[in-house]
């Protein structure tokens, strides 16, 4: 009888779905294989040795084997559980949105190292660095879309070329910056920005990824950036996100 080939890989649980009496189907994001579906048998039993690894947002080293189109969990060892998220509902809600958003842009069976790093850094910023969720959210959304190939052109007005557009708007369908009066009839749905939110947008798009969350923005400028980032994600990915709706429901 042929020996079973095992695969050892690290991954974050993007989604967990309960199935059968005590199993889970996990959607894992891994660096080497991108998004994969894993059947974790017995993951809901008390004594399961990889129950902790099978929680949403847990980052673990998995030993898997493949049978047909499915991966099966054989062993798991937690690397980071992001416990800071699990004691803060707002941060946890945002972390779940990050997972859903990442799942929307990640491809199956295709390397996703930069996406995985970006997700881990975003969760770490919320969980351990305790960065304000309101600031982490737009930075994560915009940078994720950049990594997924939807980078907006934020260096100047797409119509007149002004580096500092007058009453700047982000056209969320075409992914370009423009002045309020430029291209009004050619442009699509746009979101108002201001000098501060535009500077933050440029920091996120063009700045050092290691310093992604190292900027300050507050009040209406942060609200504008967050609204523009959310609308940009919805327009580019052509879908809404229930986890985002839940996160927003916590703000009111």
């Amino acid at each position: 009888m042929a020996e079973r080939a095992y695969i050892v890989t690290k991954g974050v649980v993007l989604r967990e779905t309960e199935t059968k009496e005590s199993d889970k189907i996990l959607t894992l994001l891994t660096a080497e294989r991108g998004k994969i579906s894993v059947i974790a048998r017995g993951a809901r039993r008390k004594g399961c040795r990889y129950a902790a690894c099978a929680q949403q947002l847990a980052y673990s080293e998995w030993t898997l084997y493949q049978k047909g189109d499915w991966y099966y969990a054989n062993e798991g060892a937690t690397a980071e559980l992001f416990n800071g998220l699990r004691t803060d509902l707002e941060a946890l809600a945002l972390g779940c949105y990050f997972a859903e958003l990442t799942e929307a842009v990640a491809a199956a069976e295709s390397p996703a190292g930069p996406l995985l790093s970006h997700l881990l850094n975003g969760l770490y910023a919320l969980s351990a660095l305790h960065k304000p969720p309101a600031l982490v959210k737009p930075a994560f959304e915009i940078k994720l879309l950049c990594l997924a190939g939807y980078e907006p052109l934020a260096d100047s007005c797409a119509y007149c070329g002004r580096p500092d557009p007058e009453q700047p708007l982000l056209d969320v369908v075409q992914g370009v910056l423009r002045c309020r009066t430029c291209g009004a009839r050619e442009s699509a749905l746009s979101m108002p920005l201001c000098p501060d939110s535009l500077a933050a947008l440029r920091h996120i798009v063009y700045g050092d990824p290691k310093r992604l969350y190292s900027f300050r923005l507050e009040g209406p400028a942060l609200e504008r950036l967050s609204a523009a980032a959310g609308a940009f994600a919805a327009a580019q990915l052509e879908r809404g996100f229930r986890t985002l709706d839940f996160y927003k429901s916590l703000q009111t």
Binding site: R180, R185, S190, M191, R239, G240
Partner: protein, 160 residues
């Protein structure tokens, strides 16, 4: 409330409230199952992706309109003008329609369409004008009278 700009229009939308209404009441044919609405549901997926991308940030789904208007043959297909209600306010209005994709235009108004049950107030409307091919097997001109369907749509509408 989230502020959007579209050409001369400036709008303020409660995206979550809008999406929540359509999640509860929205369906593929705007609440009607006449041949024209079924054709809309079958053919609308062929539109350029910019159309769905225009609607999504507003909390709207191209496949779940609030109401569908069909205005007869045009350019080898049928002229459709679906509309969606949005929770919020139209802060600045413009005239006419603006292109959002080749052959597809859109605009906003405050006085269009049926009154939808339980729709949050204040609200306004977004409409899109497009030509869709006839993809149903039954011929368009022999589509059954849709007067019976009026009753079926009443569960999601109320009189003004």
């Amino acid at each position: 409330m989230t502020e959007f700009v579209f050409g001369p229009y400036r709008l303020e939308v409660d995206v979550e409230a809008t999406r929540a209404w359509y999640d509860q009441y929205g369906d593929a044919t705007g609440g009607c199952d006449c041949a024209y609405c079924r054709n809309y549901a079958a053919a609308v997926g062929g539109l350029p992706p910019e159309v769905a991308a225009f609607l999504r940030p507003l909390g709207l789904d191209l496949h779940k309109p609030g109401d569908i208007g069909e205005y007869g043959p045009r350019q080898g297909g049928r002229w459709y003008q679906p509309l969606w209600h949005l929770a919020g306010r139209l802060l600045e209005t413009g005239e006419g329609e603006l292109p959002i994709a080749p052959g597809v235009t859109a605009g906003f108004a405050t006085d269009m369409g049926p009154f939808l049950r339980d729709f949050p107030e204040p609200c306004f409307q977004c409409w899109i004008s497009m030509t869709l091919p006839w993809v149903l097997e039954e011929p368009a001109d022999e589509a059954p009278d849709d007067s019976d369907n009026e009753a079926k749509t009443l569960d999601r509408r109320t009189e003004p």
